[in-house]
Amino acid sequence: MIDLLAYLLITIALIFMALGVIGLFRFKDFYSRILISAKIETVGFLTIMIGFTILSGLSYAAMKILLITLMVMITNPLSTHAIARSAFLSGYPINQEPRR
């Protein structure tokens, strides 16, 4: 039963990542692209890691996976912010009209 829940979570996370990759190609503007892909990337990563934690049961491996999830949850938004900040400060134009 528990493994079924883990497999379900992993499938949901793979669907999230598929949406993230589609978002990476669909949006024409850089800023909307980075917003979408970074957010869905983090959510997909969190979901798939929770699925792995459940799959590997109560063991040191599960604790290690939770540590990796914590590390990536902290660093992923920071690195995305650094990319967007360097794009903005280097003068990449933000076009005002809503992109289709």
Partner: protein
């Protein structure tokens, strides 16, 4: 193929698709964003591989890779922003 091997295969397809964005990306920051996404996917594939082969010491590799990927991305972003002089 078991479920985890198909998950690993699907993540490999995602890496290939994001690689297309890295190659096509008009600006440097698109490429940096793609590399950041690829490193996150590589961490997932390392964890899947360590679960498939039941070798828990591989998870340390994923942890070190996550931190180094973060440092590398931030360094490149600052390097581009400061146009070369990091000091």
């Amino acid at each position: 193929m078991t479920f985890l091997e198909t998950a690993l295969f699907v993540i490999a397809i995602y890496i290939a698709l994001v690689l297309v964005r890295v190659i096509l990306g008009p600006t440097i920051w698109d490429r940096l964003l793609g590399l950041n996404a690829i490193s996150a996917k590589i961490i997932m594939s390392i964890v899947i591989f360590s679960i498939i082969t039941e070798q828990p010491y591989l998870l340390d590799v994923a942890l070190v890779y996550a931190l180094l990927g973060f440092i590398g991305t931030v360094l490149i972003a600052r390097f581009i922003e400061k146009k070369g002089d990091i000091s």
